[in-house]
């Protein structure tokens, strides 16, 4: 279990431990081809801050070698925003007075059609955590309805049981995104004061349950800025490494969500993740896990996304909305989960990627399970 690695490493990651490295340590790590967890600590340490340029050069070369000059595109579709949790940093917080709604299957189809018309073929389905309003059976219905329109369907919902993941896999889901938010148990308890999400372990072990159920791609990450970013970045990458080694057939990717303003007044007590620290995290992820996908959402500004893209990013959301509905003109819209910083349309994002000398890929993977033909 990955938790054992957390308890093993945590005592070794004190503030003085991070400060104990020097430029010589960073230089030594940069000469290595295969990195160990200890090397990752060095790359996330303050000493590596002065080595962002050489780290970036190496990260870019590794990314091009393994992924080419290609950026996979996807977009999220929020199916519902009912939520029984009270995550302090989230707009869907049960106590927030926001417009709550849930798409009917017919509405979900309309949204799907509107998204599909933009050319996007990778869809990520999201809900808040409400087993009564958006339970697995409801999600399954939506998956079955949307499957024919898309090459691949991902799921970003509350943690499920192995059996539930299996059912959704059978229905047509092939990837699961689930963020631990923070690996620090004290902060985790603080920012999740009530609701089922309080259960740290059930969430932590969910990616493994998804792998056991047959899901072929897993995307994990920490909400950077919620707790000490060095620790959270370290454990996110270590978690990805653990999943890669335990489930060698599963494609493991990391997301880099940075805390954004939302409809509330939460202020994290942790130090904010500056742009330089954010870059350091992305580079450390790439150098430690050369073959892992790195996903960047529209939480970041257009300028930031353009500059981060060549450093190791392999997947980006485009034309994204974080409200329930809104892609299709006819549907009502529920409140958004977080403010989007990059509001550009799909063609605009595609144009930006091309201008940077990269190929925007609408279709990187077709889930061919039970499909009778491609392109229909």
């Amino acid at each position: 279990m990955f938790y054992e690695q957390i308890t093993d490493w945590q005592p070794r990651l004190s503030e003085s431990a991070w400060e104990s490295f020097s430029g010589v340590d960073v230089e030594r790590v940069l000469t290595r081809e295969t990195l160990r967890p200890h090397d990752l600590v060095v790359l996330l340490s303050p000493a590596a801050h002065s080595y962002l340029e050489p780290m970036a050069k190496k990260a870019q070369a590794l990314t091009i070698r393994h992924f080419g000059r290609t950026i996979g595109l996807f977009t999220p579709l929020y199916l519902a925003n009912f939520c029984t949790n009270s995550c302090l940093y989230c707009s869907f917080h049960a106590g927030n007075e926001i417009v709550r709604c849930k798409l009917t299957v017919e509405q979900a189809i309309k949204e799907g059609e509107a998204i599909s018309a933009t050319g996007l073929q990778h869809l990520l389905l999201l809900t808040g955590e409400s087993r009564t309003q958006s339970g697995p059976a409801y999600i399954e219905e939506c998956v079955q309805a949307l499957r024919p329109m898309f090459a691949s369907l991902g799921l970003e919902v509350y943690p499920l049981s192995t059996h539930e993941y299996r059912r959704l896999y059978e229905a047509g889901v092939d990837s699961v995104t689930l963020f631990q938010e923070t690996y620090d148990q004290i902060t985790y308890a603080k920012v999740h004061p009530s609701g089922p999400k309080r259960n740290y372990h059930y969430r932590l072990e969910a990616p493994e349950r998804a792998c056991e159920a047959g899901i072929s791609a897993i995307n994990i990450g920490a909400l950077l800025g919620l707790s000490d970013w060095r620790q959270d970045a370290f454990f996110s990458a270590l978690h990805a490494d653990y999943l890669q080694r335990t489930y060698p057939g599963v494609e493991v990717a990391l997301s880099v969500p940075r805390l954004r303003p939302y409809a509330g007044s939460f202020r994290s007590s942790a130090a904010p993740v500056t742009d330089a620290s954010f870059v350091q995290i992305i580079l450390a992820y790439r150098l430690f896990l050369p073959r892992a996908g790195l996903t960047l959402s529209t939480r970041e500004s257009p300028q930031m996304r353009e500059n981060l893209m060549p450093l190791g990013i392999t997947r980006m959301s485009a034309g994204a909305l974080t409200s329930v509905g809104g892609y299709s003109e006819n549907n009502n819209v529920g409140s958004a989960q977080f403010e989007i910083a990059d509001e550009r349309s799909v063609p605009e994002v595609v144009g930006m990627i091309r201008a940077k000398g990269y190929l925007p890929s609408f279709c990187d993977w077709v889930n061919m399970r039970k499909k009778a033909a491609v392109g229909l």
Partner: protein
């Protein structure tokens, strides 16, 4: 040994696979390029006739994004089963490729290891057996292992595609000795796939007697992919000529001017 026509004229030196005589011994891939528009230029410079593409990445819904629309009419398509983790998945992908009009050639790629993308020979063999029975021209990508290669041959593979090094690693012919043995022992074209990072390594594989090489990452990620495609074309041709010409035996020490057994001829 490969079934080739020894000839001092390279134009007449063809490679027979699936009933087709190929003049180019450089197979190329379509992945990792910065745009689709560059692919036809790269193809022209490479002189390649056989082009592999991952069926998983073919965008059937957007014509301007569909790589197949960028390939010349006479290209021989070699769809690959990238993304397949089992024989069953590979077989399904191959059938879908054929149904979609990609012809009946298929490169079997079954990978259960996402860290190194190394192929699973066992699943590859199972997929090969099934697809040969269904009339496909099957080119299995494999870890160079003589026993597995013999089984693939017996299953009816049209060629064997051993890796030189892990996909995208640009590490060259790390498995050289194992590939040499396959060339020596397997009476099928041996096509070195994966790992070739520079033209000189392609030439080296051809000098060893490989029937062809498949190159993708080294061309796609080069500073100038079109020039690099041309460089590979020349390297493959040079290596092939070197092989056909009969390379002189490499000597580690200088030949003694007074032979040690010279006394036998004396008197």
């Amino acid at each position: 040994m490969n079934d080739i026509t020894q000839s001092d004229n390279l134009a007449e030196d063809t490679l027979l696979i699936g009933g087709i005589n190929l003049h180019s011994r450089l197979f190329v891939g379509t992945g990792k390029f910065s745009s689709h528009e560059i692919v036809p230029q790269m193809l022209e410079a490479s002189g390649s006739q056989v082009v592999t593409m991952a069926l998983r990445r073919v965008d059937w819904k957007n014509p301007q994004e569909n790589i197949l629309n960028y390939l010349p009419q006479n290209t021989i398509l070699l769809p690959n089963t990238s993304g397949a983790r089992t024989a069953e998945e590979a077989v399904r992908i191959a059938r879908l490729a054929r149904a979609a009009g990609c012809g009946n050639w298929v490169k079997i790629e079954v990978v259960q290891d996402q860290r190194y993308l190394l192929p699973d020979n066992w699943e590859t063999l199972n997929a090969t057996e099934q697809l040969v029975n269904e009339g496909f021209v099957v080119l299995p990508y494999m870890s160079p292992d003589l026993g597995a290669a013999r089984r693939l041959r017996d299953a009816g593979a049209a060629a064997i595609m051993p890796l030189g090094a892990p996909i995208g690693s640009n590490r060259g012919l790390q498995t050289k000795e194992l590939i040499r043995i396959l060339i020596e022992e397997i009476s099928l074209p041996i096509i070195v796939d994966a790992g070739i990072g520079r033209p000189s390594e392609a030439a080296e594989a051809m000098e060893m007697g490989a029937a062809a090489v498949l190159v993708n990452t080294a061309i796609a990620t080069a500073g100038d992919p079109v020039f690099m495609a041309q460089a590979f074309r020349l390297a493959v041709a040079a290596g092939r000529l070197g092989y056909l010409a009969g390379l002189g035996e490499r000597r580690l020490t200088a030949e003694a001017s007074s032979p040690l057994t010279g006394f036998l001829q004396e008197g």
